[in-house]
């Protein structure tokens, strides 16, 4: 029924009219979008499963698993950022693809010898090499040269935040015959809403750099998928996440959280992001022309994250709330998460790719804390200037 291995089946999944880039990515307000998708699905030819939901409506028959290219091995190029919260995505993705028998090249931006490469995950790239992957360095604008003329089936850009940076990669991929283009965007582009969560199809901030990239990819490629992540934990992370809480908890310092602490956010183990990307590579027809919130399937409050970190560490925690404006500090500098609800759900991945989240923060944070201690970070001398300023303004005495 749903096993579509033959090439003729690809016709059934060729985008129905409603899957034109602009309606899929940037839908009109809900009512009219639904109307147009309604009509287009009514124009489609039977059988009834042809009227497959567009990216804005994700109701798949549960028995419907698309494995059109299951078993086919792909040549994948990952263009990876050299720093920041997303860096670790390429590392896990590379290893998972290699483990599944695909060929992987990971192109890291910049120079192999730069100081940035001394930090995780780059200082663990030997793991990619020993698994059979290739690691190269260079400027994504010269990607063709950097990969020395190699060709690929799939490209993941896990680097650019604006069109100027990603366009050369997209153009080269198209001209060199890449079939599928994947892009790590950001759930940060969703417009804030009174009605969480952010779901795929919701309005995004028109001026966000990622938005221009998403649009361009959809114009140039017929097989594309976009992934919008939030925060991540996982060994090899380039940017602090849970460590911010551990730093304070192990030193018996209060944890200052801006606002009410009730703000919801999404913190996923990076293996969940990797598995979603892998499903897209292995099910390109299903993934095609879709946006996926690349997050775990539970949100956590900021207070909740502090509590879970403390439980993982087996230590007590004291949470202190403050108003950044009243204290006179920039919350962005003082706290690693957005001071607002920042909450998306991975509905498209579950509906369309049959993806399931495995992030289990209570368990995963235990493992993270073990590593935190193992590398000796709990003993590392640290300054907490901004914390002290906050606590001082709240007239909070900290034992020295």
């Amino acid at each position: 029924m749903a096993a579509l291995a033959s090439s003729s089946s690809s016709l059934l999944f060729s985008s129905p009219p409603s899957k034109l880039p602009s309606p899929s990515l940037y839908p009109l307000p809900r009512l009219s979008l639904s109307t147009s998708s309604f009509l287009s699905s009514s124009l489609s030819i039977s059988p009834s499963f042809f009227a497959y939901p567009t990216s804005s409506r994700r109701y798949s028959a549960p028995s419907f698993t698309v494995k059109a290219s299951a078993g086919e091995k792909k040549k994948v190029l990952i263009v990876n950022t050299n720093s920041g919260g997303h860096a670790v995505i390429g590392f896990y993705f590379a290893k998972e693809l290699l483990g599944s028998g695909h060929e992987v090249t990971i192109l890291t931006v910049g120079d192999e010898g730069s100081d940035k490469m001394k930090k995780p995950p780059f200082n663990r790239f030997s793991e990619i090499v020993s698994a059979g992957g290739k690691t190269v360095w260079g400027d994504p604008a010269d990607v063709g040269k950097v990969v020395a003329g190699a060709t690929f089936d799939v490209v993941l850009d896990n680097n650019g935040k604006d069109l100027d940076t990603v366009r050369p990669v997209v153009d080269w991929a198209r001209s060199s015959g890449v079939n599928q283009f994947l892009y790590i965007s950001s759930a940060g582009i969703y417009k804030p809403t009174d009605e969480p969560p952010h779901v795929e199809g919701d309005v995004v901030k028109a001026d966000a750099g990622h938005v221009g990239v998403e649009k361009y990819i959809a114009e140039i490629f017929s097989s594309w998928a976009i992934f919008r992540p939030q925060y991540m934990i996982g060994s090899g992370n380039n940017k602090d996440c849970e460590e911010w809480f551990f730093d304070r908890i192990v030193r018996k310092r209060p944890v200052p959280i801006p606002g009410s602490g009730m703000q919801l956010t999404n913190i996923a183990h990076v293996r969940d992001l990797s598995s979603m990307l892998t499903l897209a590579v292995e099910n390109p027809e299903a993934a095609s022309s879709n946006i996926f919130n690349c997050v775990s399937d539970r949100a956590v409050t900021l207070d909740g994250m502090a509590r879970l970190c403390a439980e993982a560490a087996g230590l007590p925690v004291e949470i202190v709330h403050y108003d950044p404006k009243a204290v006179g500090i920039d919350a962005k500098k003082a706290f690693p998460f957005r001071n607002m609800h920042f909450y998306s759900e991975p509905r498209a991945a579950k509906d369309i790719l049959g993806w399931n989240g495995t992030t289990n923060l209570p368990e995963d944070l235990k493992e993270r804390f073990e590593e935190y201690v193992k590398i000796g970070r709990d003993k590392k001398p640290m300054q907490f200037e901004l914390d002290d300023k906050i606590l001082e303004s709240l007239k909070f005495a900290v034992a020295v």
Partner: protein, 379 residues
């Protein structure tokens, strides 16, 4: 509407009648509500075909959910009996309900008058009648269910209206059906009932709504906001106002109840049933204003710990995040809510409060305590 016709799938047409049935209750103002999303049925799900008429007992059915559910059941061709004490009329014409439809319903709906707490009567009257399916809309305690099960040994399905209130409070959200429940919650009777059903070997289905809203709501959810908006009063909201809650329209809930009837995939399963999206407290105040055509309200936040409201409730929602994922119902049943929040609130307003009807008189005494104090602080 033409698009409904076009979208008739080759699957069971009886389910697809639902949108038009529900639209009967829309007033003329609601032309902007489009039954835009077709309910997709998963393959293999047993559907309620018009030919399999059932003898159905509804425990309750004259107050809110049951009013909508019983109409859908009668429209589907089932023989429907409402078990109530008779305090409310068995049938009353609803705003927007055409005369012909109402008289058809009124002529067909049956009444079994009794007190469900009278277990002996329940057992004897039910066993005398015999029913294929029981919808238990108003059950609170497990002991209320036992006589029903005892009376109907060949019962095909026991469909229970439980509550998302059974979930254990958590820092990880949304609540999903697999999550821990709280044996000490205010809703432990619902939990005990679910456990009893599971232990008795009967084919049961349990739906867990969050906050239900819609015309005829007797819980002052949207009504609480409408009273203040109409009076031009500020809306006092406890603490930050970013607490997230979730409303589910009663008509969508009724539809879910229909979709689990005779559905193999619903057998011995629990489903969260509510709206597609959640909403912050502040956002809900704004949505009510938008739906009812009022200007954006003034919202006043306060610390509830600074007040003693006595027995009165200063705000109709629990002061915490409280919302549940409906993805299981969507995936397994192919059910999905028709109403967006603003659409649903408009439906409620236009068919109920906006016509001058409501259940509880406005009581602004706690508001005045809050506003009085904030005025003092400002001066």
């Amino acid at each position: 509407m033409s698009k409904l016709v076009v979208l008739q799938p080759t699957k069971q047409p009886s389910i697809s009648l639902l949108p038009s049935a529900l639209s009967d209750f829309n007033g003329t103002k609601l032309c902007q509500i489009q039954y835009k999303r077709k309910v997709w049925q998963p393959k293999g799900a047993l559907q309620v075909a018009a030919s399999s008429t059932k003898k159905i007992l509804v425990m309750g059915g004259t107050r809110f959910i049951g009013i909508f559910l019983s109409r859908l059941l009668v429209k589907e061709g089932h023989q429907v009996t409402l078990f109530t004490r008779g305090k409310a009329p068995i049938a009353q014409q609803l705003p927007g309900e055409p005369d012909s439809e109402y008289s058809d319903f009124k002529s067909k709906i049956l009444h079994l008058k009794g007190d469900r707490k009278d277990f002996e009567f329940v057992k004897s009257s039910l066993s005398a009648e015999g029913f294929d399916v029981v919808y238990d809309i108003n059950g609170r305690e497990a002991d209320e269910v036992e006589p029903i099960l005892d009376a109907l040994p060949n019962l095909e399905q026991y469909i229970y209206c439980s509550s998302a209130g059974v979930y254990l409070k958590s820092d990880l959200l949304p609540h999903c059906e697999i999550d821990a429940v709280d044996p000490k919650s205010r809703h432990k009777g619902k939990l005990n009932t679910e456990n009893l059903l599971a232990s008795r070997g009967v084919n049961w289905t349990s739906l867990r709504p969050v906050y239900i809203y819609g015309p005829l709501n007797y819980n002052p959810v949207e009504e609480w906001f409408f009273h203040r908006l109409k009076a031009g009063r500020p809306i006092p909201i406890p603490n930050s106002g970013v607490q997230i809650t979730q409303l589910g329209h009663v008509k969508d809930l009724a539809k879910a109840f229909i979709q689990v009837l005779g559905n193999e995939k619903a057998s011995k399963q629990v489903f969260n049933i509510s709206g597609e999206k959640y909403v912050t407290f502040d956002g809900l105040a704004k949505a009510c204003a938008k739906a009812a055509g009022f200007p954006e309200p003034e919202i006043v936040h306060y610390n509830p710990k600074e007040f003693d409201f006595g027995k009165k409730k200063a705000f109709p929602f629990r002061d915490q995040h409280f919302f549940a994922s409906i993805e299981k119902a969507k995936h397994v049943l192919g059910w999905e809510p028709e109403f967006d929040l603003v659409e649903g609130l408009a439906d409620s307003y236009n068919l109920d409060f906006g016509r001058g009807t409501y259940r509880k008189e406005a009581d602004f005494s706690t508001d005045d305590m809050i506003l009085g104090k904030s005025l003092v602080l400002q001066s």
